[in-house]
């Protein structure tokens, strides 16, 4: 093993996670100690992992090392290259935030839950993700992948006394195994071609695959990674698993675990698989568009804060896929520079989404910690008792809505520019898809803004709607620091994008043979351009400064007015009826009513109103209101599938007689068949 600084820090971070896992488990009887070990070791591992990533990216050339295992096809091969380094950097930024946050967050677990076991799973998840992002052997990759899925299962079902958690955990487990099954078959195709499980050997072998096998490999990998990433229609596990998991885990799930799917696609499609079928990029692009639009439309209907955020992850994965799909199309069409810009758009949005979604989930966790409810309809007015949480959540909300000058805007801007460039670069009728995808991105962005107006305003503004919200309190300082770190990152990556972009140079050079960042940054590093100075430019930093400069005189104007003519607080206009109460406020359901009506074809909303009255129906004593939308995918796709599986397995019960002789016979027959199959070759 090479002992370069990258290798050394990387191994140290793996060691920190492993030690953390064991030490947390060992100290489970002492909750306070377990909490400090769990969070402290994770922080150390994350800082070391981040250091390794920064060193690795600065170094530019991939670092590889391999330890033989003695098992055929399997070796402990790692490759620390630009792509893996970038995902490790993303992981480190989130893990630092989450481990600081957890110091405060896990305190309420003390005496109630097993912090030691939680720490074990938490470290296992971080460890396995680090391995997935650096593995250079298919089996090592799959082991990391599987361990990560199992650890995530344990964490999703951590509140196992609740039925909801157990069911969500089971759903996640099933989906994770459907996913790993696809990957296993995909890798089997590649291994069959190359005779080795090393990633490095796939490149040349994949190029010689017949086009049918290449397509099959693409489809298998795409399915597998889509399930992991929560792309529609494989998204159903996300809105089930995210809300029931502890909030710091939801933050990691949405922030980085689903990004493993994006990592896999980038690694396999752009690196290992050499060339993908020419239609592959279009498929990725279209799936991305569908996911983005449907994801945000479903998010709008949620009033469970964490489910809402989970649907937004589906939307943002869609936006990332738009960039990735464009990159694949451009590469096949022979435009490596455009492909580079598209890849940067996708990867930058991956990082940005990781950061602001983690921030939003931590914010939701802070609210949940304080009020004990995820239902937005019971919240309200939290900006007064929880000012810091509210401010951090607002930063996240502005960023995820793609509004300038924060990071979400910059990566969406790059995606738009990519799609626009696609129209000029690609011949034929398919190019009309690019501007159409762009307009759907615009729809997505605007709906996301609507959704986050709802999420922020109903949660944090106006009057509290329930007793929990009235008695809310600000969260412990460590939780606020964790969120503040991510809010800072949102601002820094937006305003300072031109200084950050060179990080992608090594990645595009490795995957596409092109450095493109120098084309993207002009005017002394102040301005971001879409490849050419005339084609479109933007500067988030100048936009922020310009806003400040223009707002300043307005502030003065108002200040003078207030000084001379006064300013007082008064009651809200209540139409002359006595007193405005929280019952008059707009609710989350009411806010999204207009969109529910407009998109009723999709939602198929159903509502039921029962009024109990004494004399006249206009003066009801009590009203019972029920409203729901049809969960289309669950009902139309998964329910029939589940029924089919149940029916099929009850048929299969006839061969499961329970007799040991029968089972021995099965084993014998299988063995003989396998031997025959092996000898035939």
């Amino acid at each position: 093993m090479s002992m370069s600084p990258v290798g050394a820090t990387f191994v140290l971070s793996l060691a920190a996670y492993s030690t953390g896992a064991c030490a947390s488990l060992a100290s489970w009887r002492k909750p306070a100690l377990a909490r400090y070990i769990c969070c402290g070791a994770a922080l150390a591992g994350a800082v070391l992992g981040g250091l390794a990533a920064v060193l690795g990216i600065l170094q530019g050339t991939p670092v590889r090392w391999s330890v033989p295992s003695g098992i055929p096809l399997f070796a402990y091969s790692f490759s620390y290259d630009a792509l893996g380094g970038f995902f490790n950097l993303t992981l480190a930024i989130l893990a630092i935030a989450v481990s600081i946050y957890s110091f405060g967050y896990l305190k309420e677990f003390e005496g109630r839950r097993n912090i030691g076991f939680f720490g074990f799973l938490f470290h296992l998840l971080l460890l396995s993700l680090t391995i997935v992002f650096t593995a250079a052997n298919a089996f090592l990759f799959l082991i990391g992948w599987e361990v990560g899925s199992l650890a995530a299962y344990g964490l999703v079902a951590f509140y196992h006394e609740q039925r909801e958690s157990r069911q969500a955990g089971l759903l996640y487990l099933i989906m994770a195994h459907a996913d790993v099954g696809c990957l296993l078959l995909g890798f089997a195709l590649l291994i069959q071609g190359s005779g080795s499980a090393e990633f490095a050997s796939f490149h040349s072998a994949a190029a010689q695959l017949s086009s049918g096998r290449q397509s099959a490999a693409f489809i298998l990998f795409f399915l597998g990674f889509c399930i992991k990433a929560g792309v529609i229609p494989f998204h159903i596990w996300l809105p089930a698993a995210h809300p029931v998991a502890p909030s710091n885990i939801s933050a990691l799930l949405s922030g980085i675990v689903i990004k493993a799917g994006i990592y896999g696609m980038t690694r396999i499609f752009l690196d290992s698989l050499g060339g993908v079928p020419s239609w592959a990029g279009l498929v990725v692009l279209i799936v991305g568009v569908v996911s983005a639009v449907l994801g945000v439309l479903y998010a709008l209907m949620e009033h469970d804060l964490k489910r809402l955020l989970a649907y937004h992850s589906i939307e943002n994965i869609g936006i990332i896929l738009m960039g990735l799909g464009a990159a694949l199309i451009f590469r096949v069409a022979g435009h490596p520079q455009l492909a580079g810009v598209a890849l940067i758009a996708a990867m930058f949005h991956t990082l940005n989404h990781a950061i602001f979604k983690c921030l939003l989930f931590l914010g939701a966790g802070s609210v949940l910690h304080s009020t004990g409810t995820r239902n937005m309809e019971e919240m309200g007015g939290l900006i007064r008792p929880m000012p810091v949480t509210a401010f951090c959540f607002l930063i996240g909300a502005v960023a995820i809505s793609g509004l300038p000058p924060l990071n979400g805007f910059v990566s969406e801007w790059l995606t738009y520019q990519t799609l626009l460039a696609g129209f000029g670069a690609i011949g034929g009728l398919t190019r009309i898809l690019f501007p159409l995808a762009g307009s759907m991105l615009a729809l997505t962005g605007a709906l996301a803004a609507a959704c986050f107006v709802k999420a922020f305003a109903i949660t944090f503004l106006a009057l509290p709607r329930g007793a929990e919200a009235r008695n809310a309190h600000e969260s412990p300082r460590t939780m606020l620091i964790g969120m503040g770190w991510l809010a800072l990152a949102c601002a820094a990556l937006g305003l300072g994008v031109t200084w950050f972009l060179p990080v992608f140079d090594a990645m595009t050079e490795q995957l596409l043979g092109q450095r493109v960042v120098s084309h993207l940054v002009t005017d002394h590093g102040l301005v971001l351009s879409a490849g050419m100075r005339t084609s479109g430019t933007v500067s988030p930093a100048i936009i922020a400064v310009g806003l400040l400069v223009l707002v300043l005189p307005a502030t003065l104007l108002v200040a003078i007015g207030v000084r001379r003519f006064g300013r007082k607080r008064g009651p809200v206009w209540d139409c002359g009826l006595p007193g405005l109460s929280e019952e008059n406020e707009y609710t989350a359901t009411a806010f999204s009513k207009a969109l529910r009506m407009i998109f009723s074809v999709l939602y198929k909303p159903r509502r039921e109103i029962q009024a109990v009255f004494d004399v006249s129906p206009y003066f009801p004593r009590e009203i019972h209101f029920e409203s729901e939308i049809e969960p289309t995918f669950e009902k139309r796709l998964y329910a029939p599938l589940q029924e089919f599986i149940f029916r099929f397995s009850s048929r299969m019960r006839t061969i499961q007689a329970g007799s040991i002789h029968a089972y021995l016979a099965y084993i014998f027959v299988t063995l003989v068949l396998l031997l025959l199959f092996g000898v035939r070759k």
Binding site: L436, A442, A462, S535
Partner: protein, 313 residues
């Protein structure tokens, strides 16, 4: 750098002065067409001036978001105004934000205004915010398609570059794609600036308010900033329309003469567009809220047709 600052200063003055004038002009024209005398062209200036000299009432339930919203509305509208070419092809800040930044900065202002509407806890505010976000969301794809059509023609999203290309082919608006894109953007303009048949800027009737419901609780200098910001936003969108589709009078150099001619042409074009808006406003009734998506769907289809016809012609 100093050039940028001087240009910005000049354009800022123009922006701040012309915007209320345009609002006033539309009001007067509309009144005349309805056989009323109307308030006079300068009424919007008087309104803003009066509001700045009024005391302010802040709702008891409101937080700092309520106070931040007016500044965001005003700041984003004026900043966007500096990114758009008005009298010459050169906009002072066009290097720092093209048409995408314009759309998203306006969205930033709207985001905060919608929060401000909900912050008071009044049902009107929530109603206004909900409707405003809904309508702007479904207007967005049509707007982007129309903008893309123009941007693809100029091969740039930078508004100064787009204007430069447009000047070289002044009669391009006769091309079908441009006409369709103009029609789509015109519908979006109606929706974004809250005019009949989408919203009625003159109403305070609960059931039909959109923009007015959102700002119902604002008073004094805050209301002045919002009204001023809204009129600047309207000016910006109208400028976008007249200067990208009808680039007459725009020149690329800066002399007293060209700027003077540019200004005259610019005001004349704005006046004509204002007349068109007034005609639409007067000859139509306000649509039911749930009919508005159909109108915007028409805009979307026009945008898509515009895009497709760039292939054909």
């Amino acid at each position: 750098m100093t050039e940028v600052i001087i240009n910005s200063g000049l354009q800022l003055v123009l922006l701040l002065l012309v915007a209320p004038l345009l609002s006033g002009m539309i009001k007067t024209l509309k009144a005349r067409l309805q056989n009323r005398r109307g308030p006079g062209v300068l009424q919007s200036y008087r309104d803003i001036f009066k509001l700045l000299r009024k005391g302010m009432v802040i709702p008891e339930t409101a937080s700092w978001i309520f106070s931040a919203a007016p500044y965001m509305v005003f700041g984003t509208a004026t900043l966007v105004g500096l990114m758009i070419p008005m009298t010459t092809t050169h906009a002072p800040l066009s290097l720092f934000g093209g048409v995408l930044a314009v759309v998203y900065l306006l969205a930033l202002g709207r985001f905060f205004l919608a929060l401000g509407g909900l912050d008071t806890g009044s049902s009107f505010g929530g109603l206004g915010s909900s409707r405003e976000m809904t309508i702007s969301a479904i207007a967005e794809p049509a707007m982007m398609l129309a903008i893309f059509t123009v941007a693809l023609g100029a091969n740039s999203t930078n508004l100064s570059e787009m204007a430069k290309i447009a000047v070289t082919q002044s009669w391009r608006f006769l091309a079908p794609s441009q006409m369709l894109a103009f029609a789509a953007l015109f519908i979006v303009l109606i929706a974004e600036t809250g005019r009949i048949p989408v919203d009625n800027p003159a109403t305070h009737l609960e059931l039909t308010m959109i923009h007015e419901a959102m700002i119902l609780e604002y008073s004094g200098p805050y209301l002045a900033l919002i009204e001023w910001g809204a009129s600047i936003k309207q000016l910006v969108l109208m400028t976008l329309l007249v200067n990208t589709f009808f680039p007459f009078g725009l020149s690329s150099d800066w002399t007293v003469q060209t700027v003077g001619v540019g200004l005259a042409f610019y005001l004349a074009k704005l006046f004509l567009l204002a007349c068109l808006i007034v005609l639409v406003e007067t000859s139509n009734a306000k649509l039911r809220l749930f009919r508005v998506p159909e109108l915007l769907m028409v805009a979307f289809i026009l945008g898509a047709l515009a895009l497709i016809s760039t292939f054909l012609f």
